[in-house]
């Protein structure tokens, strides 16, 4: 594998972080730095990785790096009473991520296949218009209520409903187009 081949995974990893991270924590987390670090680790591991192992390995390394970063963030936040909301968001994101990592202990071949599927899904997600993607990620991946998303995005609940509806439609269309 060349560095260029590895580079192709950058948008996938960026979107993976985006779906797992509470948006309120974005200003505190160096997303592109984490992606860079993961790609660097992959580069060092390259001799050991077969091509089919790559997506699953990258996915897991990325989520582990994000989990580590959140742990560091939470330690630093412990005494900042004013930052309770962010801290709660960090705790919730962390808890969900740990649960997700623990739940994904399937067989290696299954894992490789799942990672391929997820890669395609995240690529389709990345291709959505920004507002549709934001609404859909918050609703489906982050589990927010429509009311909370509406407030966060400064839109009406109906407008958010519309964004999610269109996002779902386009996501399915682009997934179906690339079998």
């Amino acid at each position: 594998m060349t560095a260029e081949a590895l580079e192709l995974y950058r948008p996938f990893l960026a979107m993976l972080v985006r779906t797992h991270l509470d948006p309120r924590l974005r200003p505190r987390v160096d997303e592109s730095g984490l992606v860079q670090q993961t790609l660097l680790e992959a580069w060092q591991q390259m001799p050991k990785l077969t091509e089919s192992d790559r997506p699953a390995w990258l996915r897991r390394a990325m989520l582990n790096n994000l989990a580590d970063e959140l742990r560091r963030l939470r330690t630093g936040m412990r005494d900042w009473r004013k930052e309770r909301v962010l801290e709660a968001a960090a705790n919730a994101t962390s808890a969900r991520l740990e649960k997700h990592l623990a739940a994904n202990q399937t067989s290696p071949s299954e894992k490789a296949e799942d990672a391929e599927d997820e890669l395609r899904l995240l690529a389709a997600l990345a291709a959505l218009p920004e507002t549709q993607r934001e609404a859909l990620v918050l609703q489906h991946w982050q589990g927010w209520s429509v009311a909370a998303i509406a407030e966060h995005m400064d839109k009406t609940p109906a407008a958010v409903g519309g964004l999610i509806k269109r996002g779902l439609r386009q996501l399915r269309a682009s997934m179906g187009a690339k079998p």
């Binding site: 309770r84 997820e118 609703q139 991946w141 589990g143 509406a150 409903g161 509806k165 779902l168 439609r169």
Partner: protein, 190 residues
Amino acid sequence: MNRSEQFDQLIAEFLDARRRNQAPSRGQMIARHPEFANELNSFFDNQAALEQQVPMADPAATLPPALADAAGCDLLRIRYFGDYELLEEIARGGMGVVFKARQVSLNRIVALKMILAGQFASPDDVQRFRMEAEAAANLDHPNILPILRSRRTRRTAIFLDEVCRWRHTRHPVRDASKKRERSDAPTKRR
């Protein structure tokens, strides 16, 4: 509100009902809103396609903004919890939060561990929490704080993790937790 906005509003309401596990089925939705039958069918198809690959986030593991505020202000909002007066927060993890507290009836300092997700905890979370309490209760080691009691309240899934050895040290809570962290004993628990 035009027809398209009405439908988007309907979707918004459905998604929130679904989040609370109170959503009507596809059939019920169509029966209630036959004028949107086509739109509803394609919405449900699109949603099922995504759901098949990535299940919707479990709201039990999620803190939306309003709840996050509440969780962040535990100590400010709740000074008393049953027989316990909350004094300060000692530590917080993904699963739970530990308070230094005074057991009012016995006038002693204890550590109170609560499940963070409270009433939103899934049965799995509660089970994990209970197993941790049971496992820890069976341990006996100078660096492990003994569990005195655990229980579940009716409204919220909360367990108590009580400690009595702290009164022997100068800064009971902090010293005890540091000692525990430093310990390399194989029985160290997380």
